[in-house]
């Protein structure tokens, strides 16, 4: 037996027992230690094990023994015989009955315990431990004392009546409590793709994850890496190394199941992007189930949760949602065959799509443990999306998502563009790119998204990826370096790495504890573990300030400023963790977040008073449309957006940008038909719209009436209707995806026409960033749109419907 013991007093006493079953304290404490199954509830009265019960055995590092006397179970507390267990661990135990003193010697240290006394003397130190007791002249100690004194991992496996002791963190336990493991991993993780990585890279990447402050690592257990040949043997080498190295570093692993192998993929292409990201064909679904069963079976103590596919957007899952649900169903069944307690999560396609999440339940997928969400930094390429967009979806998940379901943030990411070498010959567009996607902007985004996500109830947050992939041959020639990782491909760290570390140290381990402000002027979120608190603050509209004071004086109530009580040792940090201001004075808030550590008690109290039970929602600003019957938009350069917004989509693909210029007449927004057959971007056939969220959001399929005002195109002589037909359709967000009205021909003539559409099932959940789309594809001529209105309910009799 290995006699090298690490002495880590109170290491495991720091584990919070927040969610352990309601059992006596000593037992609960033991249950919260790493790696062991939950305990069965025990009666409070002291009792000895019945004579017919199987004797309790001891499992030390995988070796089972039956010490004499056997361990005891009394009053819900497990007592182990000192001599019978510790001597098996290489210690020397002596009992001096006259002095009522128990002496344990190991590794040149002497521990002195006394029956009934709840402390131990180690040299000149006195350490509190659970009191040992004498039974029939033999000394017993509560199991947790073994952990307290010697730093072992211990546990009580009630079903097996086994005391389990592990002396070495690198030894794999026989059983795990996945939830306890996940709790010990903390809130923050990084995603790393090991498929194709050399084995030598694995330790380095995991060291980087650890340095960043991650407690969790998410990785795909890539099917094609594991089983490259049809009916072939599984090659476990890569992922055996991953779980082993992760365990050695105390990192908890979350696994992703997927993607397809080349031989199983429904795609016939040789392009890895295509076959990898397409689902398996129907004839290989049995192989998919087998892969899941084998992987979960092999790694059931190493991997604490499984997610089915990563971010199944169109690019990553090249099929329809029905096929994703089928894979999810098969994977859940197969995983539970290998591990009845496997935690299985679905993944949503991106943008926190509430309709997709609701569809999982509507299609009978109720046995999954949660859905991993992917808030996006860009709705479309180059179109930045603020983290505040996800406040409302988060609130709805919290309120309606189902009790006990996980909704982790599966992969936050934000792109960065940097110049390899200074270059004076940049275009205006390139300069703008460098500013909008700077490393500092990435760090700011991380802080804001993580703070909002934690406050919004996302219990685990992953950044994807930890490190950029090596550049391709063409990328190596580009003057730009671009990526989304915390670490560049050459191993150097971006400011977001420090942001992640700073958030992990100051925020991740502290629960959300309320806010000082939560509106468009200022967001100030407090994270507090009842010992110290950290405030994360910024201003979405750049028009707020904080007034900091460490003097202990009360809020002077400066108008337009939020008071923050600090302490002399408080630090005011930027996203990268650099100190930017002293803990006293006024700080102007911008969209760049500030992080204030060690806030004063007054601030903690003020924030706690604003901690509500429901989901966190932004305080309304401006006009409220909650009671309105109609919202409307007018499509002129100075047109009104009365609860219906279109200007925010100016950079979306195909969005109309030109206004008509009829002199002294009503004008509108002009959609442009395609002129150049080979230039698909020559057309601007769309008008995107967003309905005010307090008017309708995630409505679940309600009837609305849409009225569109469009100018009739002039009659063209000598042309057939096929060559000159103009028309449009309206696409809208429904509970089952975007749907469309029939194509509406706009008859040529003079003046304006109004068309009314009855929509039976509107959801308006901003699935891809918008609720409505005017689509003029197929119109041979440009069309000018004057306005659009959305009214609650079906059309009235007076409104003819198309």
């Amino acid at each position: 037996m290995n006699s090298r013991f690490s002495f880590r007093p109170f290491l495991f006493s720091l584990v919070s027992p927040l969610r352990v079953p309601q059992v006596p304290l000593a037992v609960a404490f033991t249950a919260s230690l790493l790696g062991f199954s939950s305990l069965s509830p025990l009666p409070a009265r002291a009792q000895t094990a019945p004579a017919t019960a199987k004797p309790i055995v001891v499992n030390i590092d995988g070796r089972v023994s039956s010490p004499d006397p056997a361990p005891l179970l009394e009053g819900g507390v497990v007592y182990v015989p000192l001599r019978g267990v510790l001597e098996n661990l290489g210690a020397r135990v002596e009992y001096f009955p006259a002095e009522k003193r128990i002496e344990i010697r190991q590794n040149d240290k002497t521990y002195v315990l006394r029956p009934g006394i709840a402390n131990a003397t180690v040299g000149s130190e006195i350490l509190p431990v659970a009191a040992p007791k004498l039974v029939a002249g033999r000394a017993f100690v509560p199991l947790r004392s073994i952990a307290e004194l010697f730093g072992y991992r211990v546990g009580w496996l009630s079903a097996e009546r086994t005391v389990a002791i592990y002396t070495n963190d690198s030894i794999k336990p026989v059983f795990v409590d996945h939830r306890a493991q996940l709790r010990s991993g903390g809130a923050f993780g990084v995603a790393i793709d090991f498929a194709g990585a050399p084995l030598a890279e694995i330790p380095r990447l995991l060291d980087a994850a650890k340095s960043a402050g991650a407690g969790l690592v998410k990785t795909r257990f890539d099917w094609n890496t594991l089983q490259p040949e049809k009916n072939g043997a599984f090659d476990w080498s890569v992922y055996d190394a991953v779980v082993r190295e992760a365990r050695a570093r105390g990192l908890k692993v979350v696994g992703v199941l997927g993607n397809s192998t080349q031989w199983a993929s429904v795609s016939l292409s040789n392009q890895p992007d295509e076959w990898r990201n397409s689902p398996p064909k129907e004839s290989e679904l049995a192989a998919w189930s087998n892969y899941v069963k084998r992987v979960v079976g092999r790694y059931r103590v190493d991997v604490q949760a499984w997610q089915v596919w990563e971010n199944p957007s169109a690019q990553n899952f090249r099929s329809v949602p029905r096929n994703y649900r089928n894979l999810l169903r098969l994977a859940t069944e197969a995983a539970r065959q290998s591990d009845a307690k496997a935690i299985v999560h679905a993944a949503e396609p991106g943008g926190v799509e509430l309709d997709f999440i609701g569809d999982l339940t509507r299609n009978g997928l109720t046995s999954i443990d949660g859905v991993t969400v992917f808030p996006v930094a860009q709705w479309q390429p180059g179109v930045a999306n603020a983290p505040e967009s996800f406040i409302l979806p988060y609130a709805i998940l919290r309120e309606q998502g189902g009790r006990g379901r996980d909704y982790w943030l599966g992969g936050a990411s934000a792109p960065v563009v940097e110049l390899k070498t200074p270059d004076a010959s940049l275009t205006e567009a390139q300069r703008e790119l460098l500013v909008n996607f700077s490393p500092a902007a990435q760090a700011d985004y991380l802080v804001r998204l993580f703070a909002l996500s934690l406050a919004g109830g996302r219990e685990k947050l992953f950044w994807n990826p930890l490190q950029d992939s090596p550049p391709s041959a063409s990328e190596a020639l580009s003057p730009f370096v671009a990526g989304t990782g915390l670490v560049r491909s050459d191993g150097t760290r971006r400011p977001a790495f420090n942001a992640f570390k700073m958030m992990s140290a100051n925020v991740g381990s502290r629960p959300y504890a309320g806010n000082l402000s939560f509106d468009r002027n200022a967001i100030a979120l407090l994270f507090d573990d009842k010992k110290t608190g950290t405030l994360v603050a910024w201003s979405p509209n750049g028009a707020a300030s904080l007034n900091l004071s460490s003097s202990g004086l009360p809020d002077p109530r400066l108008p337009g400023s939020t008071f923050v009580a600090t302490r002399p040792d408080s630090q005011v940090l930027d996203s990268s963790g650099a100190v930017i201001a002293p803990p006293d004075g006024v700080i102007r808030l911008t969209q760049r977040p500030v992080v204030i550590t060690n806030v004063g008690l007054d601030t903690a109290t003020a924030a706690a008073a604003r901690l509500g039970a429901g989901g966190l929602r932004l305080a309304p600003s401006g006009t409220s449309y909650a009671a309105a019957q109609e919202v409307r938009a007018t499509f002129t350069s100075d047109g009104v957006e009365d609860g219906l917004f279109w200007r925010r989509f100016q950079n979306f693909g195909g969005m109309a940008r030109k206004f008509s210029t009829y002199y002294q007449e009503q004008n509108g927004l002009v959609t442009e038909a395609q002129r150049e057959i080979l230039d698909l971007q020559s057309s601007k056939p769309f008008i995107y719209l967003d309905v005010a969220d307090d008017f309708l959001f995630n409505a679940g399929g309600v009837p609305v009436t849409i009225t569109v005002e469009v100018r009739r195109p002039p009659a063209s002589s000598g042309s057939s209707i096929i060559n000159s037909a103009s028309g449009f359709r309206v696409e809208y967000d429904s509970p089952t995806g975007y749907k469309s009205t029939p194509f509406q021909i706009v008859e040529p003539g003079e003046g304006w026409a109004t068309y009314t559409f009855a929509i039976p099932d509107a959801s308006f959940a901003n699935a891809e960033g918008y609720d409505l789309l005017i689509n003029t594809n197929g119109s041979k001529r440009n069309l000018t749109f004057g306005s659009l209105a959305v009214r609650r309910g079906a059309p009235s009799v007076a409104q003819p419907v198309q």
Binding site: D193, A195, G196, V266, S267, L268, S269, Q271, P272, D273, E274, S278, N311, S313, A314, Q315, N316, R318, S319, V320, P349, G350, G351, E353, P375, V376, A377, Q380, P381, G382, G410, S413, A414, P415, T427, A429, L433, N464, P465, D468, S469, S472, E475, A482, T484, S489, N651, G653, G654, L680, F686, A725, G727, G737, S740, P742, A767, E768, N777, G778
Partner: protein
């Protein structure tokens, strides 16, 4: 390590487009269910062709015709 497919393209008009992966994405395939091929509502295209075109407009990414045909058929 999954290969980073990254392209930075500067359009002649001065606006910059930026496509980066891997990063969380939200675009899904447009629905072509119920559309009549080669009709105005399908932009006078085949359904796979229209699906490819529509997806390109919002994602700046082309999918193959084979993929588009499979998805248009519901697979």
């Amino acid at each position: 390590m999954r290969k980073l497919v990254l392209a930075v393209a500067v359009v002649a008009a001065g606006a910059a487009t930026f496509v980066a992966a891997p990063q969380a994405q939200a675009q899904q395939y447009p629905s072509v269910a119920g559309l009549t091929p080669f009709s105005p509502e399908a932009n006078f295209m085949s359904l796979p062709g229209y699906l490819r075109y529509r997806y390109f407009v919002t994602s700046r990414t082309w999918i193959s015709y084979e993929e588009a045909a499979r998805i248009a058929a519901g697979g």
